[in-house]
Amino acid sequence: MRPTFPFFKPKEETDSSKIFKPSRRDFLKLSALASGGVFLGISFQCSGPKGEDVIFAPNAYLSIDKDNLITIIAHRSEMGTGIRTSLPMIIADELGADWSKVKIVQADGDEDKYGDQNTDGSYSVRMFYEPMRKAGATARHMLLMAASQKWKVAMDECYAENGMVHHPGSEKSINFGELISDVQKMEIPRSEDVILKPFGDYKLIGKDIPIYDVKDIATGKAVFGADVDLDNMKIAVVSRSPVVGGKVISVNDSAALAVNGVEKIVKIEGAGLPAGLDKPLEGIAVIATNTWAAIKGRNALEIEWDLGENQGYDSVAQLKDMLESTKESGKVRRERGEIEEAVKSTSRTIERTYELPYYAHATIEPPAAVAHFTNGKCEVWAPTQHPQWARGAVASALGIEVADVTMHVTLLGGGFGRKSKPDFVVEAAILSKEMGSPVRVQWTREDDLHHDFYHALSAQRIKASLDGSKNLVAWNHHTVFPAIGATSNPAEVHPSDGELGLGCVDFPYDVPNIRIETHESKAHTRIGWLRSVSNIHHSYAINCMMDEVAEARGVDPINHALELLGEDRNLSFKEELDGDFSNYGESIEEYPWETGRMKAVIQRVAQEAGWGQNLGGNKAMGFACQKSFLTYVACIVVVEKGGDGKIKVSDVHYAVDCGIAVNTDRIRSQFEGGAQFAHGLATSSAITFKNGKVEQHNFDSYQIARMPEAPKRIHVYIVDSMEKPTGVGEPPVPPYAPALANAVYKLTGKRQYKLPFKI
């Protein structure tokens, strides 16, 4: 199966959903979940982007058993966003279930059954809000019908609440469970007969709902990838090529084999170059009875490497070259007006460059996966964001059918895009086959930082020209960074349309002349996607530059942004682009770029934060805004200089319009965490390469935010909205760093053109 980027390619559109009774085969498979009861599958009627054949794919299951236990299958991966709670909670709310009695079961990776399970691109709620409501409403409809028939009353006089159907007129009530035998005999109602609840009737949607796993986590019972334990399981730790594309020449494993507990040394054949997104790197695995023995064995290996063509790679030098290249004309990706003409008559041009480093994901849970290969089949347990891709990659690495791979999804100890890639899962499968027993592959922190799929380093140059009346009349943005696609295809030397659609060509401001250009660069390591992807560097450069332009015009930055967003209207960038506008996989007609919604979040955040008030000499505010993943976000960061002269972030204010807010507590938590995540990117994290090797090894040299310097208070204002819901996993990240930089400038007079910067 080929990799899918939800933010790059149009996703298969969900035209309508269909609720069905699973086949007997599915029923049997699911029967372990409950002791006989009703199962409903939800299927989405999907058509391909070009209106190809209509297909049906079941995406989720709901069951109610005779003992009133409601089981809902979570088919998206839980990596900390709360999705394992938020989607089931939508079904439960429509159903009228007693949420405290709902059991959530994690789905295996199975495309036929669940459709696309790729948990990425902040799109789970966006994609599944409607179908989940429909599923719950369908089940409720059947229960109400069963009760009304039993009581011989009109169906519309009954209602479902807390796992019971009530008929107020006769004061009758009955548990869902007692209606099951009747419901089992019914046909699924027609979709048009099923009525969704009015929004005001929801008891869970739009409220603060705690995550399902909170108690298990607080008591240490939650099961992550490395927590899976099987009989006779061995542990593998791998020494991988320190340079991407390297190959093993020879190995002396005698010292490793001498370590007590080490049982076997296995070579993992690497992809070489191009490295690809779903293949392991070449390496030597040490397989032992316990993790410590495997680590010691790995450290004792003596490997001679042919490091290949990336062995001279120096990221500092590449970034310098990339920056230099932005002085020239590049490949034009968006053009509006006559920029060359316009620039001739301008009175001032501000020209600035922005440099951002590689970033590693550094999930606190390093990659780990368990596989058990036996009799030509492989059963896998993995913390994967993309169970189907992992399943397909395992099948192809082992040369078996996809159907012969069972992919169980554990909780993920953080994902951020890293755990979309199945390389570590494939390693476990290969090693289990070689070993003839279950194997857990365990990455160490050093492995994680050395062998990530990094957020690309980037260089940008922006030239903003003002006319004699200080109007911004020309915007020329150069951007260069190795494309994600280059990891698989070295011929991709320019950022893709998809990557440019992440905060670059969708520059929303009303400037009469715009030119956006890209330049060539090569991938010398594995490039992947990190929480909000290219929005990170694009938002940084654009928002910092906008702050300088506002200053040059003598206009307040917030008024400046509001003014340049212009009238309330829908933007479409297509006609000015050389290429496609991905719009996060959605049509621009259905999800337009609405300047009015952006202006509203800007006004809201300004008002809530008290923008414009006199803060005294030791405090300052900075502003930035960014629409990403179809969610509108405006951010104000407040910095404060302490008595010790150190600058701290005292407050972060976010206003967000993500359409209908499904689980308000998890929206807030994503913004709270997003600010901390971005604080690390802004002030401390960076990956560099010397001689092809990563120079950071652990959390001493790769720093992320820690509690003492982390932003102190994070305020999240969620706009009341009845628009279609959009995601919140990634959108908090892009505006934070530029808002911080703009605040630091206000306080210190120093602009920040390079990340990370020390504050």
Binding site: D208, K215, T219, A222, I364, G415, S669, Q676
Partner: protein, 152 residues
């Protein structure tokens, strides 16, 4: 290989291990106690924090041979019913996101409250500085510690 008797969560456990094996791997691999997590192996992230003799220790960097007869408490043994004031406060504030760092956070906070049942914000920050959370739950952790402290 040596035999060790470890006192963990009020019970005695026998393990046979190399003397340099960190307590973390003895707990996870030899005793099947998976609540204590591995994050860095170098005492840099706090995910593996347990109490040893009442002090918060990074079990990834404490050889099993150095434990001796000190009492070890892990997240599984912090309370019998999962209702230690910190655990209740963690649930009340819905602190976790992915949850992976949280055993270590709770155990580190437990040691802090044992030493000082009423810590200031600044103390909380400096004591918790060694416990990383990539999901960024720091502010809720702080609030939860304060809630637990008010109930002690």
């Amino acid at each position: 290989m040596e035999n060790y008797t470890l006192k963990i969560n009020g019970e005695s456990h026998q393990v046979t291990a190399e003397e340099d094996m960190p307590l973390l791997w003895a707990l996870r691999d030899l005793l099947g106690m998976k609540g204590t997590k591995f994050g860095c192996g170098q005492a840099l992230c706090g995910a593996c924090t347990v109490l040893v003799g009442g002090e918060a220790m990074r079990s990834c960097s404490l050889p099993v041979s150095a434990v001796g007869d000190q009492e070890v408490v892990t997240i599984e043994g912090l309370s019998a019913k999962g209702d230690h004031p910190l655990q209740s406060a963690w649930i009340e504030h819905v602190v976790p996101q992915c949850g992976y760092c949280q055993s270590g956070q709770i155990m580190n906070a437990a040691a802090l409250l044992q030493r000082n049942p009423n810590p200031s914000d600044q103390e909380i920050e400096s004591v918790m500085a060694g416990n990383l959370c990539r999901c960024g739950t720091y502010n809720r952790i702080k609030e939860a510690i304060k809630t637990a402290s008010s109930k002690l």
